[in-house]
Amino acid sequence: MNDTTLKGKAHVYGDNIDTDAIIPGKYTKTMELQTFADHVLEDLDPAFKTKVRAGDILVAGDNFGCGSSREQAPLALKVAGVSAVVARYFARIFFRNAVNIGLPALEIREHDIAPDDELEIDLKSGTVKNLTRNVQYLASPMPQTMIEILIEGGLVNYLKRYGDYHL
């Protein structure tokens, strides 16, 4: 990942957004990744897929991505153009999956991000600047392995490069 700064508009949702809400199970069985984006968040906010712009940032509360292990959930967000996900905290499988496919996922315990706020994320320092409100939040530190996977742009590239895990 060469560019470590991301800038985009916030789309804000609540707590416990489950993977069925992110991408219903009935759409997960395909290799056409665009299908996931075509149905992303459709039972939660049917307008999301038309209003999301490349680079936008999805912001949520507690336990984002709970439920299924489907990697189609972070893929749906990524293919739809979302550049990063910010939550108070993530369900663990979603968190791993997001990082594994190279979608930055930042845990910010306290924030007051509102819809349409302009955000700027510096992945190196783990800071999120809210340009609209002129405040800054610091993400919880990620395990070192996850940082390295993210730097490579995901687990596929990480293993292509290293061939094995290293701590």
């Binding site: 219903p24 069985k29 039972d43 905290y89 499988i93 687990l155 293993l159």
Partner: protein, 412 residues
């Protein structure tokens, strides 16, 4: 310093004594993927430069989430799995043999003390036999296929003790829904769970699997049912926590006061006693899945439906967890009792629970399901309302056409 079960198992697989919050690379004993997760995993494996899987006898592919294939798109994904399994000589279970977690336990692939990565969130199931089962996504699974390893942070553990005799008619599902009411949907996120106590020690392997299955519904990374009285068809060394193991939290529940419980839409932790919901009209009742599709679940349904009929305004669909479960149910007459009562048997698989096929509800329909998730849209229609309950409560509700307390059917 004493260790919890998860700390012991990860220590054995990482070559050093580890405790909560340590970061490790652990050796994996087996890795499993289903038709929801395997196609992306196969693609990721190839993209990683993978030529041969690390150990074909430890790589398992199972077709269960849309089995048999409901359309050509999925049929072609199944082809991709068959081809990969053949070329890599992996263990492969064809559509119709059973649900992945049931087969992993029923076929004795999972053993106590092992680490199993399953590309399905309900891999916590393996804690029923004392294995560390943890759910991963497709790319993580591909990495295990390639390296035989996974990186993990050693989780903290929540200990849940359930004491006392289990009242007649109360099912393991009711116990687990009581646990979820206590923890909430995120109460065990990033953590391991240990279930113990005199109530637990009386559960069958099926009942223990039901409980371990739904640990993920509290967000758990993995979990274990203590092996007291655990009956397995092979000799094994049980993994027990040290007496001075350090727990993040300890919860004690009293089984003797428990009622049949129901999770209301749209979250598995939205749990109330069935009494609060009795009388609500039910359109569709479903028994099956990796949480409650085993023989003892069919037995309890047959007890309630024997010699009677499913209510004319309700339909009952049953999906056995495996072909073996179905066959056992055929041989002991359970399938005949249930079929005569008006139940429709579908092939072993996940279809209705994940909304792919074989029983999708219509708009505004009320479903009572013995499954494990009732998120909006879970069964394939966001306009349906799904209630989760034990197979006893589902069977009683199918009989009465309304959400019903099953305890009256256990009074003789």
């Amino acid at each position: 310093m004493g260790q919890t079960i998860v700390e012991k198992i990860i220590s054995c697989h990482s070559g050093k004594k580890v405790y909560q919050n340590d970061l490790v690379v652990a050796e994996v004993d087996a890795a499993m993927a289903s038709d929801t997760t395997a196609p992306l995993a196969i693609q990721a494996f190839k993209s990683m430069g993978g030529k041969r899987v690390w150990d074909p006898k430890r790589c398992i592919l199972i077709i269960d989430h849309a089995a048999p294939a409901p359309n050509e798109r999925i049929a072609n994904l199944h082809l991709m799995m068959r081809e990969f399994a053949r070329e890599q000589k992996c263990i492969f279970f064809e559509a119709g043999i059973g649900i992945c977690h049931q087969l992993m336990i029923e076929k004795n692939i999972v053993r106590p003390g092992q680490i199993i990565t399953g590309a399905d969130s309900h891999s916590t199931c393996y804690g029923a036999v004392g294995a560390l089962g943890t759910g991963v996504g497709s790319t993580d699974l591909a990495a295990v296929f390639l390296t035989g390893k996974i990186w993990l942070k050693v989780p903290q553990t929540i200990k849940i003790e359930i004491q006392g005799p289990i009242p007649v008619g109360i099912q393991s599902k009711d116990l687990m829904l009581n646990v979820l009411r206590e923890t909430g949907i995120a109460g065990a996120t990033y953590q391991s769970m240990e279930l113990c106590g005199s109530a637990i020690s009386h559960l069958s392997l099926a009942g223990r699997t039901t409980m371990a299955n739904m640990m993920i519904e509290a967000g758990a990374k993995t979990g274990f049912v203590h092996p007291d009285n655990l009956d397995l068809p092979y000799a094994f060394t049980p993994v027990l926590p040290d007496p001075d193991a350090v727990y993040q939290r300890e919860i004690t529940l009293d089984a003797s006061a428990m009622q049949p419980m129901v999770s209301k839409p749209h979250s598995p932790d939205n749990v109330v006693p069935v009494m609060e919901l009795e009388g609500r009209k039910v359109d569709y009742a479903f028994i099956g899945t990796c949480v409650n599709g085993r023989l003892e679940d069919l037995h309890v349904a047959a007890r309630i439906l024997k010699g009677t009929r499913v209510h004319p305004d309700t339909r009952l669909v049953i999906g056995p967890a495996s072909r073996q479960v179905f066959l056992d149910g055929v041989n002991d007459g359970t399938v005949e009792i249930l079929t005569s009562a008006g139940a429709t048997f579908i092939p072993p698989g996940c279809g209705p629970c994940v909304g792919t096929h074989s029983g999708v509800p219509g708009n505004n329909e009320v479903v009572i399901s013995a499954g494990n998730r009732n998120f909006k849209g879970r069964m394939g229609n966001p306009n349906a309302r799904i209630y989760l309950a034990s197979p006893a409560t589902v069977a009683a509700s199918a009989r009465e056409g309304r959400i019903a307390n099953p305890l009256k059917y256990f009074q003789s």
